[in-house]
């Protein structure tokens, strides 16, 4: 997502030079020093923006839902499209959750998972994991998982199947509330420039399809 996002910014005229990117610096600037980029772990993006250390950030909707960050989300960048889904072993796909006293759910998204099952009135035990969530049902650690599904291949190869899609996720542009008010002109311009690129790309996609 980082490469795609940088390409989008470059299209909008905000270019970070190759040499800067090739370095392992976590804080780089555009040549004209108009913009600084900070590279952080996806799940940390909402934190940097909420505290106003970064005015603007890019992260998946999955991360935002989980972080419940208090930020504006003015633009859907459409990148990194995937689904947040409930999955389980092929054999249990049709099974009613209510046959289980509590559903053990392994996930990187404890909040999203809890909210989803609570809405259905199903008691769950969340098993928080930070990676390779697909393993959990195979080894009997959990009954279900809630995870990001892109193509579904990893699930398939591990004998799992999607049971329900909770929501779709794409990369979102997020903006700190104070910055949105205090730097409204520059942030407005940035949103406008990115939106113009997205509209242009959408049109060229349509032409290709036609």
């Amino acid at each position: 997502m980082q490469e795609q996002s940088l390409a989008l910014f470059a299209e909008a005229g905000i270019v970070v030079e190759e040499a800067e990117l090739a370095s392992r610096k976590l804080l780089v600037q555009t040549a004209d020093r108009g913009y600084s980029f900070v590279f952080v772990k996806p799940s940390d993006v909402p934190t940097y923006v909420e505290y106003g250390v970064a005015d603007v950030g890019i992260c998946g909707r999955d991360v935002l839902l989980e972080a419940r960050a208090d930020v504006h989300q003015p633009l859907d960048l459409g990148l990194g499209r995937c689904r947040i889904a409930v999955a389980g072993r092929r054999e249990v796909v049709g099974e009613d959750y209510n046959l289980l006293a509590t559903v053990r759910v392994a996930t990187k998204y404890p909040r999203i998972a809890t909210a989803y099952f609570h809405e259905k009135g199903v008691p769950i035990e969340v098993i928080p994991l930070s990676g390779s969530v697909e393993l959990a049902p195979l080894l009997g650690l959990s009954d279900r998982i809630v995870d990001l599904v892109e193509t579904g291949r990893t699930l398939q190869e591990n004998g799992l199947e999607v049971i329900d899609v909770i929501t779709e996720s794409t990369a979102q542009l997020i903006v700190n509330r104070a910055s949105f008010q205090l730097n409204r002109k520059r942030i407005g311009q940035l949103i406008g420039a990115l939106r113009a690129v997205l509209v242009r790309e959408e049109k060229s996609e349509e032409r290709k399809e036609a």
Binding site: T47, G52, V53, A69, D70, H72, A178, S179, L182
Partner: protein, 377 residues
């Protein structure tokens, strides 16, 4: 980890410059508030949990620190101050002539989720103007907030304001169900034109595309008089239209006072609509990454304690004000120069008397004295 080094989550110890800065801010605030004839009210640290849950809703009252009184009643440390003011006014001062002008400064206690840390407030400084429904009352509190920020030398402050009825009127006009209303609020709050446009296309097909687009644009960015002129041109229902003209009157007055560069009308402000009934505002400064204060009109709150009456007020987060001033590299008026004073001759009564006599003179001149022992000893 030893039990001596462990500190409960959310607990803070302040010392040195931080304390001097916080006390300075409180002094400035109280001077400004007193100048506008507000009386300080000192409120209890805890009260019945039922009181808080009645005023702020059961869900938010869950985040209080609760404990049990000797008779078994559930108590809670105060999670905010406005509620306690509202209750005092409704139950203790029903016959005092209105309007009442009350101000406060004090700590509040609540569990905050880790993700909400950016917006945490542990010490609120604010005021309430009660029993006065007028436009003048709305302006008064806005102007006091502005004066405090100017006094603190946070001169680049920005206050965005809106009116709760703009949204309520709109939701009514579109005939939205409660769930759709919540969704519309979320869409406006995100400031995402495309998502909001999509929502309106589904739920307000009666509006022309141009009108829908105009509405999306209006809730995007805060602006001045032109924002209101554009809003007034939309086919609004009575409630929304009245809100727009109320905002216009505020905007014109602020303009005539030469303050318009600090104030922006933000029709996309839709948070806290369950609480506020009229004017709403948020306060920002470039020195701090999140809002440092907020306020508005809440004509329903006091009614939940028996007697309904209009009220408007604001509160600043002292933690945020102090953080902003710490980032501010101009003068630090809370720092006073020290006048060191030695005591030559050690413990000899005559020497001591001479030194402390000198110290007393300096103190009469309001100098800050530091008594030091004689180094030559």
């Amino acid at each position: 980890m030893s039990s001596l080094t462990k500190i409960p989550s959310g607990v803070q110890y302040f010392f040195d410059e931080e304390v001097r800065r916080r006390r300075y801010i409180e002094r400035c605030a109280m001077e400004v508030f007193t100048g506008w004839s507000y009386d300080e009210i000192l409120l209890p640290m805890f009260d019945y949990h039922a009181l808080f849950s009645r005023g702020m809703g059961a869900e938010r009252a869950e985040r209080t620190y609760r404990f049990v009184d000797r008779d078994g009643a559930l108590l809670a440390l105060r999670p905010e101050l406005t509620l306690l003011v509202a209750r005092t006014v409704a139950t203790r001062f029903p016959h005092k002539p209105r309007p009442l002008r009350l101000c406060y400064s004090g700590e509040v206690f609540r569990y905050d989720e880790p993700t909400e840390r950016a917006a945490r407030e542990f010490h609120q400084v604010g005021l309430e103007l009660i029993g006065e429904p007028s436009l003048a009352a709305d302006l008064e509190v806005l102007l006091i907030a502005a004066e405090l920020l100017t006094t603190l030398d946070l001169t680049e402050f920005r206050i965005t304001f809106s009116h709760a009825d703009f949204f309520h009127g709109l939701a009514r006009q579109l005939g939205l169900e409660p769930q759709e209303r919540a969704l519309l609020r979320e869409m406006i709050d995100r400031r995402n034109v495309e998502a909001l446009g999509g929502f309106l296309a589904r739920h307000a097909p009666q509006l022309s595309e141009a009108r829908r687009e105009e509405f999306c644009q209006l809730t995007q960015l805060a602006g001045g008089a032109e924002t209101l002129a554009r809003a007034a041109a939309l086919p609004l229902d009575g409630q929304s239209a009245a809100a727009v003209s109320h905002l216009a009157a505020i905007e014109q007055t602020l303009g005539a006072l030469g303050l318009d560069s600090h104030f922006r009308i933000d029709l996309g402000e839709v948070a806290n609509l369950d609480y506020y009934t009229g004017l709403t505002f948020r306060i920002y400064v470039p020195e701090w990454g999140v809002e440092i204060g907020s306020g508005g009109r809440y004509d329903q709150l006091i009614a939940s304690f028996g007697r309904g009456e209009p009220a408007v007020g604001f509160s600043f987060a002292l933690d945020a004000l102090s953080g902003a001033l710490a980032h501010h590299h101009r003068v630090s008026p809370w720092e006073e120069e020290e006048t060191p004073l030695r005591i030559p001759g050690g413990d000899h009564p005559a020497a001591l008397a001479r030194a402390f006599g000198q110290a007393r003179e300096l103190r009469q001149q309001k100098k800050r004295v530091t008594i030091g022992a004689d180094e030559t000893r």
